[in-house]
């Protein structure tokens, strides 16, 4: 490892080409926005979507390998996660087009911040060092803190931004403390070297385990798993709805993917040490997600609890600690992203006489006033409840089978039971839409929202017909971590 002898080319820097190109696009859009006269918001969003698509192409065509002297990796796993993150971010930007115009948030920094946040998530997906992990997490979170407070003249949005910032900083502190402990007790931050040093479970000192617990806590706050979920409902409710949609999808994917890579690859041999922790977090998240959501009247708050629950299910796959489990997590994240984004597109479409409404009772009689929207919401709610043949069911199916294969019957049974409890509040929304007396109709839905909801709806409904590509890609990705 002679540092001085290393040349620029031996870094393998082209591996990070998608990130580099995306960052350059972000800076270009920023400059264009600053120098342009008039409103650049709409054009900025279009350019950002273009940059995302270009990056996705680069991700697909890029080579695999380890670069930047072991700080960065491109493999099937990172490609899978990056594509999912880019898809979620693209739909998130499209969703904001109309909402921001309505709510007077048409400032070109909005898509730029989403773009930089996405760069952070891509770094997280490729991280093979604790330092890269931290930089990615920070870049992602910092942008989202600002986005959450983007409606700065609104009290709720500022509160959401501040709350998220304070708790997020706490998470960063925990993460860094854990990283320093791990570094101190093993002498390395590199995932490959850590895996080698920890190949014998007996070599794990208590200090190292404490470090792992701290890192786990920091990342759990990012995926909002119980007991680090407290910020979620308030922040989801207060942030502008497209930001909530973005926060509930792309960062969750990136943080969960990072958590899985971290636990499975450097600390894979210490399964016995962290498994109980993940199991506990998973059970608590599923229970809280399904029980606390019952009393909610605000749709965005309900989605917050729903996302906590979903993260609980995804953690089951990680708790299994096998290749099948990781494959389940990845498939679950794909189905989660599409049904989540679709639901939020329809939440943004809830607008009466120009004013956004968020109450569940506002949906009363939607089945008669707007059958298409009601049908879309019904599909998403059925899917979230895990009712076949929608994609949500298949996500849960792959997760639960992985747990059962490992003999974790209790976890699977609790998962099924909480799904049943969760079904109650999802199906209550369907009941409100189809069986309650109609309220005044919503405003005409803009095409961008119909598009996003359509993409989510089609994926959710038709997933069961042709799941092979997603399953195969997830299988290949999971194999990387266990191969």
């Amino acid at each position: 490892m002679g540092g001085a002898a290393m040349t620029w080319m031996s870094l393998n820097w082209t591996l990070a080409l998608p990130e580099i190109v995306l960052s350059c696009c972000g800076m270009a859009i920023l400059i264009l926005g600053v120098v342009s006269r008039g409103n650049f918001f709409r054009l900025g969003c279009m350019l950002t979507v273009g940059a995302f698509l270009l990056t996705a192409m680069l991700v697909l065509s890029g080579a695999n390998g380890v670069g930047y002297s072991g700080l960065f990796v491109t493999d099937a796993y990172s490609v899978f996660v990056k594509l999912l993150v880019l898809a979620a971010a693209t739909l998130g930007v499209v969703m904001s087009l109309d909402y921001n115009e309505h709510e007077n948030l048409r400032r070109f920094e909005f898509p730029v911040l989403m773009l930089f946040s996405t760069v952070g998530m891509m770094l997280m997906a490729s991280a093979t060092s604790l330092m890269t992990m931290y930089m990615g997490v920070e870049l992602m979170s910092l942008s989202i803190y600002v986005l959450a407070a983007f409606a700065r003249d609104e009290l709720r949005s500022s509160e959401a931004g501040l709350k998220y910032f304070v708790l997020g900083s706490l998470a960063s502190g925990l993460l860094l403390y854990g990283v320093s402990l791990i570094y101190g007790f093993t002498g390395s931050m590199d995932f490959a070297l850590l895996a080698k040093a920890l190949s014998d479970p007996a070599s794990a000192s208590p200090g190292l385990v404490v470090g792992i617990v701290f890192v786990l806590s920091g990342l759990a706050l990012k995926v909002s798993a119980v007991p680090f979920h407290m910020w979620t409902p308030d922040v989801y409710e207060g942030a502008p709805t497209p930001v909530t949609a973005f926060m509930a999808s792309a960062p969750k994917v990136a943080a969960m993917a990072l958590l899985v890579r971290l636990m499975a690859s450097p600390f894979g041999h210490l399964l016995a040490q962290w498994q109980q922790l993940i199991v506990l977090m998973s059970i608590a998240s599923m229970l809280l997600g399904s029980l606390a959501a019952i009393g909610q009247r605000n749709f965005k708050r309900l989605m917050a609890y729903s996302s906590i629950g979903h993260m609980g299910y995804a953690l089951i796959g990680l708790a299994a600690g096998t290749q099948a489990g990781v494959r389940g997590v990845l498939i679950y994240l794909v189905t989660y992203v599409f049904m989540n984004i679709g639901t939020f597109a329809l939440i943004i479409a809830m607008r009466r006489r120009g004013r956004a409404v968020e109450g569940i009772t506002d949906l009363a009689g939607l089945g008669r006033t707007d059958p298409a929207m009601a049908l879309g919401l019904a599909v998403f709610m059925f899917s979230m409840a895990g009712i076949p043949p929608f994609s949500g069911f298949w996500g849960k199916y792959f997760i639960f089978t992985a747990a059962v294969q490992q003999g974790m019957w209790a976890l699977a049974v609790i998962g099924v039971l909480t799904s049943v409890i969760g079904a109650f509040y999802y199906i209550r929304i369907i009941k409100v839409m189809y069986f309650d007396a109609p309220d005044e109709a919503f405003d005409v839905r803009p095409a961008s929202l119909s598009f996003v909801a359509g993409v989510g709806g089609l994926f959710t409904t038709l997933f069961f017909l042709y799941p092979a590509p997603v399953v195969a890609a997830a299988e290949a990705a999971a194999k990387v971590l266990f191969g």
Binding site: S23, E109, V112, F116, A149, R152, T186, G187, L193, A197
Partner: protein
Amino acid sequence: MMIAALAFYVFAAILIASAAMVVSARNPVHSVLFLILAFFNAAALFLLAGAEFLAMILVIVYVGAVAVLFLFVVMMLDINFSQLREGFQRYAPVGATIGVVLLAELAIVLGGWKFAPGAASLRFAPRAEGVHNTAQLGQLIYTHYILLFQASGLVLLVAMIGAIVLTLRDKTSSRHQVIAQQIGRMAGDTLEMMDVRSGAGVRELGIIRPKPAPEPEVAAHDDHGHHGGGH
């Protein structure tokens, strides 16, 4: 060798003396100046130890930025330092006790220090012989960790965008500079040459007040009204 040892003791002695002056000086401005002296001496110690990059950074960052910042704060905020020092006698025993406890803890920790067995082999450090430590640090930051360096740059950029997005309010009353307008301004637009008879008053010549500035065409589609004259 002899000179180096002598230099070390001189710098170290001045460092400790000026550090003591920082806490004991009555005038806070003097404290900051002693702090700067302490920084310079610490930088000299780094130089003696062969860490020239660290020495320069200490001077640039701490003297150039931090100490100046301290000076600004001390001068701009009206802090009554004599009031802050009140009760020094009363709290001295408690403070001394805490200091002794901390010192004892440090001694215990440092006395029991030992590296993990595998740590040395896992540690990464450029150990190339004959390369200055500035070059080594540059190698580390700009080549080995270039990815993280650039990522930190992005984090700072996002922080800047965030600060601007959340706080900048474009006031309609703020006056923006329109450079094209400034350059395109002709002397004839605002100046009028008068033939002044000697001994005649302003009123007699018909000059009641200066000619008003012409309304520039550019301002028509620019909200931020900018007057062409007066530069």
